[in-house]
């Protein structure tokens, strides 16, 4: 049997699990963007001076909506590749059952990341539809923004799976959320341009993966795509995806194949 079929079997397993919870999950994927776009995009946005050159002529809603697309992808990824990874390795030990079959660790990880992609695709499609209806996108190129968010999210998912498989500890995971994901969410140029950060902090923001995802989505949604910057963002995220996947396979093999 081919590796592709085994990877698809892992995706099918997750789809079977999701069948029991899809309604609640999809509802949250719909309500979440509505709340964020209304409260921050519209209501907070009315306080923001539109003529500020850092906004590049966008309304605050148009500035923040594509960024929230990228953060939605990151959050969706984290719900698939953090606690469920510990459950598979340690709590329910279902991943041990998987690797007792012909499925290899690398195929298990590939399947989990493919499923992460499916979940992100669902969430960002709903978000993008809501944002588009609300006038959150300035350019027709915005149709590509969900793909950019998908890349950003899966790359994050791979990295998080790799870290989670290694630490295998819910306290550590809580710390990663508090000191990793939440600051990224707040400071990666989601709600304000990173040029507003102190000069010495700004390069830090450039180094974070979410900033590249946010910028890529924002450039597409506002139609101001520059070849150099786009290549850099995509290159960064693809490299992160590759490195994260390798880390995830290695950490997981260390736990399942000792």
């Amino acid at each position: 049997m081919s590796a592709v079929r085994r990877i698809l079997a892992v995706v099918g397993w997750h789809a079977t699990l999701y069948r029991r919870v899809w309604f609640g999950s999809v509802t949250v994927s719909f309500i979440n963007p509505v709340f964020f776009l209304v409260s921050i995009g519209f209501l907070l946005g009315t306080l923001v001076d539109r003529s500020n050159p850092d906004l590049g002529g966008l309304s605050y809603l148009q500035f923040v909506a594509p960024a929230l697309l990228a953060t939605t992808a990151m959050q969706t990824a984290s719900s698939v590749t953090t606690y469920p990874v510990i459950a598979g390795i340690k709590w329910l030990r279902t991943w041990h059952a998987v690797v007792a079959t012909p499925v290899r660790v690398s195929e298990l990880i590939a399947g989990v990341l493919a499923w992460t992609g499916v979940r992100i695709a669902i969430a960002v499609s709903i978000f993008a539809a809501v944002a588009a209806i609300g006038g959150g996108f300035a350019s027709p190129l915005a149709v590509l923004a969900p793909l950019a968010a998908l890349l950003c999210g899966v790359a994050f998912g791979a990295l998080l799976a790799g870290i989670t498989a290694r630490v295998e500890n819910p306290q550590w995971l809580a710390a990663i959320y508090r000191f990793g994901l939440v600051p990224l969410f707040l400071f990666s140029g989601t709600f304000f341009p990173v040029s507003q950060l102190p000069d010495w902090v700004e390069p830090l923001a450039w180094a974070t993966p979410l900033w590249h995802g946010v910028e890529l989505c924002r450039d597409l949604a506002s139609g101001s795509v520059a070849a150099g910057a786009t290549t850099l963002h995509i290159g960064y995220l693809v490299a992160l995806l590759a490195a994260g996947t390798m880390l995830a396979v290695r950490s997981t093999a260390g736990k399942l194949e000792a």
Partner: protein, 306 residues
């Protein structure tokens, strides 16, 4: 078709850092037999099973499973194995038949075949009426039976069972033994680990006793009893606070413990007569046939292993 042993290990070794879990063991398992690994906790049984299951790399020596090398042919070997792990790892969030369906897909089985096998297997493990129950609502014995059904989804030639009945009540254990016995009659090769001697005597054609990472004895249950212990055992219990009085030279093997004496003897009744002739008055006297447990304790010692 390859007619050599189904599993063959020479000098098989497993190390975790400096710790040697399995220390150069040799064994072979033939097609159709039921082979057991007996030993106290930490003897290296589970490590050996995981190497046979082709999920744990061999640290030294050679291992062939189904004529192949686990290091290179892991997926091809695992395709023909059924694995029942020590700890249940069913998907608690899925129902009974979904567990089998998902697992069958990992083996690349077509949907129709999985559905057909599922119906047969749930009948076989007496869970047909629970097919739509969520797994977390099942009892311990039912979960074990479901794990066995799951391990059979790919019609394996070789089944690996790591302590299959640990933690089950007597009814559930006997129900499980019946299922395993039927598999054995169908020609499935079974390899199991256990620290229940009655389980080994019931099921195993041949077994090895492991202690501290090594194999200390090998044979059929009967053969091991004949070789390592006397035909009968006399157990004497004394009530005194000072421990049992010395019984002297009786039987073939005398072991004195804190409050009782265990004597291995070819003729138990003669030993009891001799004890009485010497004026000793034990509170209780038990004469019984030797079991595998006596072999086990004789070979691996009576001290507790943690």
């Amino acid at each position: 078709m390859n007619e050599g042993p189904l599993i063959e290990a020479r000098g098989l070794t497993k190390r975790y850092g400096d710790f040697v879990a399995v220390d150069g063991i040799d064994f072979a398992v033939e097609r159709g037999e039921t082979f057991g690994f007996l030993g106290p906790n930490g003897a290296g049984k589970s490590s050996t099973m995981r190497m046979i299951g082709s999920v744990s790399p061999v640290s030294g020596g050679t291992l062939r499973v189904l004529g192949r090398d686990p290091e290179h042919d892991g997926p091809a070997i695992r395709e023909r194995l059924g694995v029942v792990p020590q700890e249940d790892n069913l998907d608690l969030e899925l129902d009974v038949q979904e567990n089998l369906f998902v697992y069958g897909r990992f083996f690349g089985l077509p949907r129709d075949e999985i559905r057909r096998r599922t119906a047969e297997l749930l009948e076989f493990v007496q869970l047909a009426d629970r097919r739509e129950s969520r797994v977390d609502s099942l009892s311990g014995g039912m979960k074990r039976r479901l794990t066995i059904a799951r391990a059979l989804i790919n019609t394996p030639e070789l089944m690996l069972l790591d302590e299959p009945t640990t933690g089950l009540d007597p009814q559930a254990r006997h129900a499980l033994w019946d299922r395993l016995y039927r598999l054995k009659q169908q020609g499935v090769t079974l390899v199991l680990t256990t620290h229940y001697m009655d389980e080994a005597e019931q099921l195993c054609d041949r077994l090895v006793i492991m202690d501290r990472a090594k194999i200390v004895a090998e044979g059929s249950p009967r053969n091991l009893i004949d070789r390592f212990v006397e035909r009968e055992v006399v157990e004497l219990r004394f009530g005194s606070q000072n421990g049992p009085p010395p019984v002297g030279d009786v039987g073939q093997h005398v072991e004195e413990m804190q409050d009782r004496i265990v004597i291995g003897a070819n003729d138990g009744d003669a030993v009891v007569d001799e004890i009485h002739r010497r004026g000793l008055r034990p509170e209780t006297v038990l004469v019984r046939r030797s079991t595998l447990e006596d072999v086990f304790l004789r070979l691996t010692g009576r001290s507790l292993v943690d």
